[in-house]
Amino acid sequence: MVIKSMHDSLRIPGSQEDSVAAAKIATILDRHARDGTRLVQILREVQDAEGWLSPATLSAIAEGIGWPRAQVESTANFYSFFHTRPLGEYRILFSDNITDRMLGNQDLMRSLCQKLWLEPGHMSEDGLVSVDATSCTGMCDQGPALLANYRTITRLTPERIDEMAHLIRRRVPVGDWPSDWFHVEDNIRRRDALLDHGLAPGEALAAALDRGPAGLLGEIERSALRGRGGAGFGSDIKWRSCRDAWGDAHYVICNADEGEPGTFKDRVLLSSYFDMVVDGMCIAGFAIGASKGFIYLRGEYRYLLDRLETRLAQRREAGLLGRNILGRGFSFDIEIHLGAGAYICGEESALIESLEGKPGKPRIRPPFPVTHGYLAQPTTVNNVETLALAALIAVKGGEWFRGIGTAYSTGTKLLSVSGDVARPGIYEFPFGVTVAEVLEAAGAPDTQAVTTAGAAGSCLSADEFGRHIAFEDVPTGGSIMVFDRSRDMFEVARNFAHFFAHESCGFCTPCRVGTAVNARLLDKLANDHGSPYDLDEMEKMHRLMQGASHCGLGNTATIALRDMLAKFRPAFDRRLHSPDYEPGFDLDAALSQARQMTGRDDPGAHLTDNLSAHAGETPSEAQP
């Protein structure tokens, strides 16, 4: 990253530096044909070149793409990885999933901040560096992890943090940091039908072309394949309705946003099974009559981008992508779009908005993407794993696939297992496997709780480990996080609540405000001001948000919390200060600023008794 930091903000219009910056922005704009739908890509590239997105930069981009400036600013301010204020030459973001916390990320972050003399969230005074937390980066099997200028570093240790502080102070570019820090393991622990596929690149695609669109759709139908992105929608129905929808063009989107805390299986498919994914996308394109596809790659997986683009180029050379694939007259090409730190962009209509250069806010549905998707054209959005499985089915047939798993959940499922297990990593199991069998395989003898769909799904207690992983019993997108008996489930709930408050897109009232209320209530408990009343409030938020929210995020954001409240009540009760109502406001604490300013800390500068008369007055807090 080439960054000129602080003095950018003081730039004198018309200066030489100004015209250099303008030229750079113009080059980037031209590369994207000044097309506003490419705004998220444009903003990332300009930020890479300029260090941050200044007001003048946003104006220049708006003018370049011919959009109202306010809309450009709106997009820039939506994504966590874009900054509209300077944040330093080095931007360090600690992955803050509960699994990172269990591996000690908070001590590491505190230590780095101390060594660099800065406060989390603020740039160091010399404008060199900022340190902050970010949502799960998908490295839960090899955490604690962080992003250094958006490049993934895994397996952090106190020694690595020491050395990192040195490297930053000596201004060593991130690209020159020890290369083993950037190493990402696959950690595949159990292989089954998909991970042991044994196919050559393009083999599945050739098989699909042999079957023809109708034959192929027939096999997908026979396979009873259901989407692996979470909802479990029948893939044949999705593809057929997309194919039948009228449009100028049809599109295939591979959803590689993988934002659910605790999932990392798509990362492994992209890293080591990319040809199966690309074959799957081509096959989907062949089935629905599309000639263009997008991979929406989460910003946290930036480190994969160049590698994946190289592989796409190789496939084009080998006749496995692009014009006239395998010499069979079918043309299909793929473009990769990088996200910029927003969990909601995994939701398919928000993803499409993002692909069109806008903030990732879910659309009103109907109409659904299969009829009105990307650029209002028929679009099928599928998870990475679904597409790889479609490739497998194209070769081996639907009957074969249906023989694996259960009647309602056919085939295998990739599980990302992390937390308190001896062998974290990827486990491919046929659907129907019990939670206990998964725990056994991963080495988890002393388990208290398992979350089965990341932060957005159920939390099971030990008496439920005999249940089956399947859409009809315990549905999962693949995130399995394991908590042993030493863990405080209250802290798990609090981490999840802050995750949702941070990731709510803000479009609808119940989720925008409700997630913030829940995070505040849990903080109130953590600060020893909780009462049973606050627990009832969380139940109330659950009842409101589930049903009234606009999309799946708000509808699922309280499920794990509700489960934990019901199944691990003592973890919450322990935090209750009194059986009666307690205000969230601590007057004495609020006076600390005044004490600091006046340099006083004597008893006279403190309030002795708790003035609960001020019920309901909470000072405004920094957002999580």
Binding site: A70, S504, V513, G514, A548, H550
Partner: protein, 241 residues
């Protein structure tokens, strides 16, 4: 099949293509709403219009009316949910109604009365939002913004200007204007714009006309919103055809 549905047990006719909200408004029936306005495309964000259709929650402003639908609207369950939504909106911003120029004409306040909301219930967030007094004719007091985007839609769809946009994410969502300085004076906004009229709360306020109508004689001082709104809206919908 006859083109009508049941709203709280009463027959409501509809023209194919109309939403439940449009049909109800045309029939003079009040479904609580904040972000919906008959003149603009539906937004579906405030969720005040949440109804139950065939036992499932849905927003009346975005759901197409269909023959035979059974829609629950003013039930105790839905009123309770709407009250909670209103409370969330009140604590999210800074609403000190007694000193607000919009008091009595404010849709948020009037809807809160209608839903029997007696207190904000939750701890206030007290967000720090600046006021923009730069424009010669109009004041923006963002403290009261409920993110309904009516001004955004009015400016885009009617004025053809795109003066407003919602920026940020989640609880950090906030309204911005279309200028590099962030000041309304530096946009092409005019007091004659439709966007100057649509704010349901007290954010977009015309200067020099404040408190022209005394509190006590304002829109919702005369009649509750359930009677007032449908009168106005029914006319609008009929005119719009």
């Amino acid at each position: 099949m006859n083109n009508s549905f049941l709203l709280d047990g009463e027959d409501v006719p509809f023209i194919p293509g109309q939403t439940v909200m449009q049909a109800a408004a045309a029939a003079g029936k009040y479904i609580p709403h904040l972000c919906w306005h008959p003149d603009f495309t539906a937004h579906g964000s405030c969720k005040l219009c949440t109804v139950k259709i065939g036992g499932r929650f849905a927003t009346a402003c975005t759901t197409r009316a269909a023959a035979g639908q059974e829609v629950d609207n003013r039930t105790e369950e839905l009123t309770a949910k709407r009250r909670t939504l209103l409370q969330l909106l009140f604590v999210e911003g800074n609403h000190f109604c007694p000193s607000c120029e919009k008091s009595g004409n404010c849709v948020l306040q009037a809807t809160a009365y209608e839903m029997g909301m007696l207190s904000p219930h939750f701890d206030h967030f007290y967000p720090d939002r600046a006021v923009d007094a730069s424009h010669p004719d109009v004041l923006l007091d963002f403290n009261r913004c409920i993110m309904c985007e009516l001004c955004v839609r009015a400016s885009r769809e009617v004025d053809g200007k795109d003066v407003f946009a919602l920026s940020g994410r989640g609880a950090k969502s906030h309204l911005i204007v279309n200028s590099e300085t962030g000041r309304l004076a530096d946009t092409d906004f005019a007091v004659t714009d439709r966007a100057a009229e649509v704010c349901p709360v007290g954010v977009i306020l015309k200067k020099r006309v404040g408190f022209a109508v005394p509190i006590g004689q304002r829109d919702y001082d005369e009649k509750p919103i359930s009677e007032k709104a449908v009168g106005k809206v029914a006319d609008g919908v009929k005119e719009a055809g």
